[in-house]
Structure formats: structure tokens, C-alpha cells
């Protein structure tokens, strides 16, 4: 790989896609706060829903899905690009999961009266947060690139296998421990303009995710090239 022409050109400005994502999110937030009706029973705090649900969807299905798939594919193909994809998905996914875990209790306090109730999706997010954090810590503690990629891919795959077990455990736990009736914050029967705002929010946060992934992936590529170049000095 030639070091005189790096495939990732040092960017002077913010990546266009990331900028678009940031503006899209700003737009979605504006619409959610000022141009969407207030929910009758939950009041203003319900509007956290427009950040919480898109972030949860992207964190659990897109980011973690990418992590699991690229880990599995790396074990099969051993392509370093898959490892960089996994690394990026893990880090950006952790950010999205953090938002889910912070906005969930803030919203939950107004709806449920308590900060935490072991809600199925929040619990799964909490577990994945720990697992992904562990994965990033593991990566940080291994310097050799091939070993780091292999170990990380193994952990990613095992994490994917763990997910159904967490699901089942939480389900069994909850059915045998009946909880008080809980308002279902993500009821599918949303009035029209609220549904539109939700869809716009999902699209915006997805765009932001793609932007962040692109920047993060490029960073990983450039870092590996740099290390290879420095290593040969």
C-alpha cells in the first residue's frame, strides 16, 4: 500500500454527509418540539420519544447488526476492512446506546414514576452497552492488529449469540413477576402528524449515523495506514 498517496485524504473540513446528518437532526428536533402536537396524557416530556425511539432502533438493529455481521464475516474472510467496520459500528453504536439509556429514564420518570423498571428493550440495551464497552476495552488492550481483529470478532459473534438469551431471560423474569400496568410509550397507533415526525426523526438520526460511521471508518483506515508507515520507518 503506497504511503505517498493515502487512500483517506486528510480532511480539512467536516465531512459533507456528517454535516447533512447534523442539520437533519436539528431539523427533526425543531419539528418535534415546535411543530408536533403535545401528547394529551404524558405532556411535553413525551417528546423525548422522538429521540429515544430512533436512537434505540439504530443502536440495536443497525449498529449492533453491523457489528455482529462484520464480526462473523471477518472470521470467515479475514478482511481488515471488516474489522474496521466492526470497530466503527461498535463505537458509534455505543454512543447511540448511551443516548437510549440516558433519555429512557428521563422520559420514564415522568411516565412510570420511577427512573428504571427493567423494561425489556432498555434492559437489552443496557446489556449490549456493557458488552460493546467490553469489546472496545478489549481492543484497546491489544496492540497487534491481527490478534485484535480476531479477538474482537469472536467477542462480537458471541455477543450476537447472547442477545436471544437475554431476551428470554427478561421475558421469563417479567412474566413471572407481574409488573403494574405500564403506559406503552411506543404504541403503534400514533396520530398522523406524530407518526410523520417519528419517521422524519428516524431518517435524520439514520443519516447522522451514516455520517458518523463514514468519518469513523475513514479515521480507522488512515490510522492503520499511518501505523504501517510509522512501523516501517
Amino acid at each position: 500500500m503506497s504511503i505517498s498517496t493515502p487512500s483517506a485524504r486528510p480532511a480539512r473540513t467536516i465531512d459533507g454527509l456528517l454535516l447533512a446528518g447534523l442539520f437533519a437532526v436539528a431539523g427533526a428536533v425543531t419539528r418535534a418540539i415546535w411543530f408536533t402536537p403535545v401528547e394529551a396524557r404524558q405532556g411535553l416530556a413525551q417528546k423525548i420519544f422522538y429521540i429515544h425511539v430512533p436512537s434505540a432502533f439504530i443502536a440495536l438493529y443497525v449498529a449492533f447488526g453491523l457489528l455482529a455481521v462484520s464480526s462473523a464475516l471477518y472470521l470467515w474472510l479475514r478482511d481488515p476492512r471488516l474489522d474496521r467496520m466492526a470497530e466503527s459500528a461498535a463505537e458509534v453504536g455505543l454512543v447511540y446506546m448511551s443516548v437510549v439509556l440516558l433519555t429512557g429514564p428521563i422520559w420514564g420518570k415522568t411516565v412510570w414514576g420511577t427512573w428504571w423498571t427493567w423494561d425489556a428493550r432498555l434492559t437489552l440495551t443496557l446489556f449490549l452497552w456493557f458488552v460493546v464497552l467490553g469489546l472496545l476495552l478489549l481492543r484497546q488492550s491489544i496492540d497487534e492488529r491481527s490478534m485484535r481483529a480476531r479477538y474482537s470478532a469472536v467477542l462480537g459473534l458471541l455477543a450476537a449469540i447472547l442477545v436471544p438469551f437475554i431476551h428470554i431471560s427478561v421475558y421469563l423474569f417479567r412474566t413471572l413477576h407481574p409488573r403494574p400496568i405500564v403506559l406503552k410509550p411506543s404504541a403503534p397507533s400514533l396520530p398522523g402528524s406524530m407518526l410523520t415526525t417519528l419517521l422524519i426523526s428516524i431518517a435524520a438520526f439514520l443519516l447522522l449515523f451514516v455520517g458518523l460511521m463514514r468519518v469513523r471508518y475513514r479515521y480507522a483506515t488512515q490510522r492503520d495506514e499511518l501505523l504501517a508507515a510509522e512501523g516501517t520507518e
Binding site: 486528510p10 467536516i14 416530556a45 413525551q46 448511551s98 443516548v99
Partner: protein, 61 residues
């Protein structure tokens, strides 16, 4: 304003602000890491002169 229990609206603001801090903060972190990497890249000693590639053919006049 009730000083003991935050109002419903204040919870909403808290939620949005917290999310904003996390997302925006991570974006800033990414950009700063990128900038540090760029600095290290520029600090690399100049590579040996690459083989000169033939210039692309000029567009037909």
C-alpha cells in the same frame, strides 16, 4: 416553578439537552481525533519520490 420537582417541560428539555451533549460531544471528539491524526501524518518524513504517472490525455479540443 416548583423548585423541588422539575416540571414536565423541564424533563423534556433535560432529555433533549442530554442527547444533544452526547451526540454533539462525540462528533467533536471524532473531529479532534481526526485532526490529531492529520498532524501525525504531516509529521511523517517525506516518502521517496513516487514514479511519475503519465498525465491524463487532454480533452479533445
Amino acid at each position: 416553578m416548583n423548585l423541588v420537582t422539575p416540571s414536565n417541560g423541564q424533563f423534556m428539555v433535560a432529555g433533549y439537552v442530554v442527547a444533544g451533549i452526547v451526540y454533539f460531544g462525540y462528533t467533536v471528539l471524532l473531529l479532534r481525533r481526526q485532526r490529531a491524526l492529520d498532524r501525525r501524518w504531516r509529521a511523517l518524513p517525506a516518502p521517496p519520490a513516487p514514479p511519475s504517472a503519465p498525465p491524463p490525455p487532454a480533452a479533445a479540443a
